[in-house]
């Protein structure tokens, strides 16, 4: 199974120029710095940090969500399932270009979820989830 930081780096390269910005603010609401809006969510499911403002396309990598096992010729096949969550905070933009680049550059993507469009009635933003699978064989008997 790959290191989440390696996958994060691959995503950053693929989405060069599309990723939005995290603006970090202090307790007084003053801006103290910015960083690319590309994060890794821990298994516990981090809630958005209130000291961070997001603009543009936010990309959240969720590693190790599940690892279903399948018996395979005396060994075990583990399919590690990860997710990439795309959130578009810019109401004039969408997640299509980012989806196309990721699908073209990450062969581990096995599922492309539908676009959840922004809703003015609900005051929600556009989002989309992509599922990645990293197969791993364990206990291989030679």
């Amino acid at each position: 199974m790959p290191n989440p930081l390696e996958v994060r780096l691959r995503i950053a390269i693929l989405l060069n120029g599309l990723i939005g910005t995290y603006t970090h603010v202090n307790d007084y609401g003053q801006e103290v710095g910015t960083s690319p809006a590309l994060s890794i969510e821990e298994a516990s499911g981090n809630s958005p940090d209130s000291t961070v403002r997001v603009s543009g396309l936010e990309v959240i990598l969720r590693p190790n969500l599940a690892s279903p096992m399948t018996p395979l010729l005396g060994s075990t096949l583990l399919s590690h399932r990860w997710e990439i969550l795309l959130k578009q905070w810019d109401s004039e933009a969408d997640t299509i270009a980012a989806t196309n680049r990721l699908v073209g550059g990450l062969p581990e993507i096995v599922e492309v979820g539908p676009r959840v469009p922004r809703s003015t009635a609900l005051d929600t933003i556009e989002a989309r989830t992509l599922v990645l699978e990293f197969p791993e064989i364990q206990n291989l008997r030679v």
Binding site: P48, V116, S119, L122, T124, I125, A127
Partner: protein, 119 residues
């Protein structure tokens, strides 16, 4: 010389019938999930609010060897996949059709129905 012959027409119609019946079992389970309190972790109640979502769960559409399950409520996609508000808070999805399908044991149900239909 010995010959064995199968009744292909009977088998084809048995397969089709079993497939449709298995799809209806899935549909029933999907509708049950919509109305089931606590079906999804983190949500104590059921998904039903006004009954609109349940009423818009369409019967399975059979296209050849595929059964399509669809909900036509305008807001279904938001409930199903979850959403994020502009203020940053979010609501996780409640994929009721996926759960209904998982609970149905489709393969086993289909095999059983087919066996019954052919015997």
């Amino acid at each position: 010389l010995a010959k064995v012959k199968i009744n292909k027409r009977k088998i084809d119609s048995g397969v089709q019938r079993a497939f449709m019946d298995a799809a209806l079992i899935v549909h029933r389970n999907i509708v049950m999930v919509i109305s089931e309190p606590g079906a999804f972790e983190g949500f104590d109640g059921d998904i039903v609010d006004t009954g609109n979502l349940r009423a818009n769960q369409q019967p399975p559409e059979i296209r050849g060897n595929t059964a399509i399950f669809r909900n036509t409520a305008e807001y279904a996609i938001y409930v199903y996949l979850g959403y994020t508000f502009r203020n940053g808070s979010s609501q996780p999805g409640r994929p009721w059709m996926k759960l209904g399908l998982e609970r149905s044991g489709f393969d086993a149900a289909f095999a059983q129905l087919l066996k019954a239909g052919l015997s």
